[in-house]
Symmetry: none
Subunit: 423 residues, 2 copies
């Protein structure tokens, strides 16, 4: 240990009684920890305290003895239990001053939303003398970067994750890069794989998982496994040069299981493939109820490719709008590969698109029969001269929403496979 | 503050470098926090440290000065970086002793899995002298309940959530109930409000926010504000009795803004209302792309009420499937209240449902015109003898997915208002 005597590293302090009551997961700490790791900043402690000025003050003083930078989240809102800024100021014996430009910005934002600025919003414009403001482009709670004592900086961010992330990226990150604490350059890349269990993937790349620079670390999520590659070098050009051969090796070993990198998701990958081919897509969804369409529509620019679809929860709609023949429905039941095929072909014809996806299955918890367990899902992908059907058994132990999500991922991945095969 | 001088309350210390790297969410802390809250045990701090004995020792000593009980998770495994038990023993100057009965249990478990007991597993049988063992029925890592100094107890649990939970429930909970620390009973209730900013809501209930028992605390999320009411009493019956008048007062003051409690969400509330009336629902979605249908379908049993819908991203589909007249599309544009109305009426007729929701708007980031900014969304709700249209301006500063989510919440809330008005 070389860092016992002087303040060192970055700590995270999350403020909110809702965390101590277990009402919410501390996803902010996880996100910030990833950011610190990607900057190569030493990060050895995370703390959670409630909305209580006495205990917040204690945590602030302790951290100021241990760390060089403290990042806080939460307690910047307009209500009386939001007391982060005022407690920080009083802990370090500093007065608050009104920043009129912030009050103006809050008033403007509230009026855009058709609201009046409440009396309680006014306190969000008070900051310790000397603090640098972190603007909050979407919410009413700005943060601050403030040096209350030598070799100790406090960075405050709101608890709302979207606001916190935007403020980090737009203001805190550039500040950290400039202030000299970031030494080496770390470049990370996420590679995304699907339709393979984490254990099989790990077995195939065991040698790479023990690599030193870049490091390769796996994370399993529902329907995908991510690998995070992190290279350390003197600049980002050198770091990228280290990443490239590992990336290539992973693509080669894992073939079609690799589907995208970084912020890509299955929907954005498919939209890109379709846009390059100038082809269009529609969906016919039963058990997913619109989730595939929603995922596709969440991507900016989706309308260039995605024309729409039919949520065919009831059999009547499958027949009437999608033209699924009633004898197929009667012979095989709504959850069958025959019906999935007819749904895909029906929506493709009705909506006049190049490609169509159909999903019909049992998401549970009710509805199982002797032959058809919860988790049974039939998928069909119809396209020019092709209609592929896939049967998935996701397992009856899974929750409804997980079965829905896996159905969507598998249907989109099968479309992806067909699109790639036709390049 | 009355608890400054003596050790007080329960702290949680999660041990694992993977938490500091942001590899995993700290779901253990959330789960344990809920358990502590339900027992009414004061819980004022959570800490995370990595697999490092120096920093673990510091955290242990600090906590031993503040708290009466410390619950740790993680670091009980067989690998060299699992060092919780030995660090705790050395921090409080106590030797480890082998517990042969534990080694036997580990060997039995490993052989059941067809594995030999690795050398590294043996360390899992060593505990500080005097520690009470917490058996681990499914894994190889037992925990302990140990009193290293007067008025301070350490409870160690493994990091694997399923093992941790089972060990808590089977051993720790009975111990806590017996040891005399559990005094009062706490009952919490979440009340959910919509279509009102957190600041306005707070201003209307300022007096209740400073209430002592039950306490009332607000949390804002996208599209809703939650209030958490927590009552303390000698049993749950008394606690519920304390909650009731506050609940009633909140419902009275905030009227239709209140929409549900606890695990309810807007979709489940609507499905309940419709099921009581034996009425059915369909959706016609443009800019939300299926998200309203997906939210409704995420609720178990949705198919009793929800028949399906049309994702009408392209104008052709609005015309062809929903029967929106082309002259309306041409005169007013796809994003207009006229088109929303025609979509709602069209899908209601086509799918033969009692109620229908339609959403058409600009979710961005592309597509704005001089008259129609990003964030402009038209909603229509059609039902027996009624078709209400609503225009929302969510603001062009918002992200696409936020605009989509707000559109869904507002459309469902408007349906809710109409359903309530007809009780």
């Amino acid at each position: 240990m070389t860092h016992n005597s002087t303040n060192y590293g970055v700590e995270i302090l999350c403020i909110g009684t809702e965390l101590l009551l277990g009402n919410i997961l501390n996803s902010n700490a996880k996100w910030l920890a990833i950011q610190l790791a990607s900057l190569g900043l030493p990060h050895y402690r995370q703390t959670v305290v409630g909305d209580n000025s006495y205990r917040l003050e204690k945590a602030l003083l302790e951290s100021s003895e241990r760390s060089q930078i403290l990042v806080t989240t939460g307690g910047l809102g307009p209500t009386p239990d939001d007391l982060t800024t005022e407690t920080i100021a009083s802990t370090f014996n500093t007065s608050l001053e009104e920043r009129s430009e912030i009050l103006d910005a809050i008033e403007e934002k509230m009026s855009l939303n058709g609201s009046l600025t409440a009396q309680s919003n006014k306190k969000q414009a008070y900051f310790p003398i000397g603090a640098k403001i972190i603007p909050n482009p979407t919410g009413t709670a700005p943060g601050m970067i403030w040096v209350p004592k030598p070799n100790f900086t406090i960075i405050t961010l709101p608890g709302v994750p979207s606001e916190m992330k935007q403020m980090w990226t737009e203001t805190v990150l550039p500040w950290l890069n400039k202030c000299g604490i970031v030494k080496d350059t770390y470049v990370s890349k996420i590679m995304r794989f699907t339709n393979i269990p984490e254990s099989s993937l790990s077995d195939q790349i065991k040698d790479l998982l023990s690599n030193n620079n870049p490091t390769v670390a796996p994370y399993a999520e529902l329907g995908e496994v991510k690998l995070r590659l992190t290279a350390k070098a003197k600049d980002s050009k050198q770091a990228n040069k280290l990443l490239r051969p590992i990336e290539e090796a992973l693509k080669q070993r894992l073939g079609d299981h690799y589907y995208g990198s970084d912020d890509e998701n299955m929907a954005s990958v498919i939209l890109n493939l379709l846009q390059k081919k100038e082809q269009t897509l529609s969906v016919a969804e039963s058990c997913t109820g619109g989730g595939a369409g929603a995922l596709i529509s969440s991507i900016p620019g989706a309308s260039k490719v995605f024309k729409g679809g039919v949520i065919a929860y009831s059999n009547t709609i499958k027949e009437k709008i999608l033209g699924v023949p009633s004898d197929i429905l009667n012979s095989y039941g709504a959850v069958s590969s025959q019906v999935a095929k007819a749904m895909a072909e029906g929506v493709r014809e009705q909506l006049n698109t190049d490609w169509a996806i159909a999903i019909t299955g049992l998401a549970g918890p009710e509805g199982k029969t002797k032959d058809k367990p919860i988790g049974l899902v039939h998928i069909a992908v119809a396209g020019p001269g092709v209609c592929k059907t896939i049967t998935e058994k996701f397992g009856s132990h899974r929750e409804r929403v997980s079965i829905q999500k896996l159905s969507i991922v598998r249907s989109l991945d099968n479309l992806r496979q067909l699109l790639i095969a036709r390049v």
